[in-house]
Symmetry: C2
Subunit: 229 residues, 2 copies
Amino acid sequence: MRALVLFSGGVDSSTCLALAVQKFAKENVTALSISYGQKHIKEIEASNKIADFYGVEHIYLDLTPIFKYSNSSLLSQSDEKVPEKSYAEQLAEGLGSPVTTYVPFRNGLFLASAASIALSKECSVIYYGAHSDDAAGNAYPDCSSRFNNAMNEAIIAGSGEQLKIEAPFIDMTKSGVVAEGIKLGVPYEYTWSCYEGESAPCGKCATCIDRAEAFRLNGVEDPINYLKD
Amino acid sequence: MRALVLFSGGVDSSTCLALAVQKFAKENVTALSISYGQKHIKEIEASNKIADFYGVEHIYLDLTPIFKYSNSSLLSQSDEKVPEKSYAEQLAEGLGSPVTTYVPFRNGLFLASAASIALSKECSVIYYGAHSDDAAGNAYPDCSSRFNNAMNEAIIAGSGEQLKIEAPFIDMTKSGVVAEGIKLGVPYEYTWSCYEGESAPCGKCATCIDRAEAFRLNGVEDPINYLKD
């Protein structure tokens, strides 16, 4: 049995990759990393290091043209700044729901691309690292279990029951994901989470805030160094 | 209200485009055509003529890299020939279900790409021309109403309820689609259905057979000329 892992090089998908390698053995795992017009290539660099660490096949795909009409603040063409606030603060202040860093139906497109490639490579499962913190308050509706259940059914039905999604963290918080990853020995020092593309993570964007909190809740030091003010 | 039409330049999607233009007016309709590594560019040429005819915005996307690992007989890199048989014959003879011209999760990928672009362009609906003949016997599972219902729910949930799919022909046969198109005055002389890329349609592949039958059942002559033996 073979698995394809949707793999950004961040904390969640790296933990997902570790789980898949544990379950299927590295020879049977393909990691898929996708560019979509982000403001930097730090995630791609991180994904290369971690795929090497695990010794899995690593496929890279560029879907930037699909997002050229979007003004998501995560994208290079956007004139909007990435907010320096947690998701909870952004939602409480009514800055948008979905949040401004939502990239239109990105995870749906990623899962559909993963499905096309997985079927070609005779994988019977896609691993997907979405978790409940990102879905809270509809910040990222394409991380919700409602979305995941429907997309899973679409992939099962649309593939003639040859393929399905496993989303092991869909009902888990990010600190739960980190707890799993610590047990699995995930090399978090290689991961990249920050929305900005500086020499080190900014420590101020929502995903930096969430990441730091997830390590703090586990009583473990995050192995990466943040930018100093 | 704006609509995005998934538009190949064939009979079904051209009829779908006609319906969308009638409902939303051409200024509010965007047609999306996608290359995916087919053996020819006849469909793209056809889509250009028909988009011009209707005066709608026409976006073109190339997703060929996603299918480079696939051996679907519809793709240029495949060594498999397109069967010269109807879908019903292929299924009855056990030549594969899905059929060999199934491109892995293609329609799921197309709908997901359409969703990302539709949200960027402030469309609230995607028009999709799948019909029941293509889904029969699981020839194309990504044309089934089970798939369509799930994909629609994934797009509604994953977009934060900003977008949905309309599939007006999902429970209709291809002859029913042609009946609609005749009423709407669709310029079928510009459409391209054939899986081969000759100077004229082959008349022998499953989609040529289905198309000819759909016109015959309507008692109307197909305005295109087929290759002579």
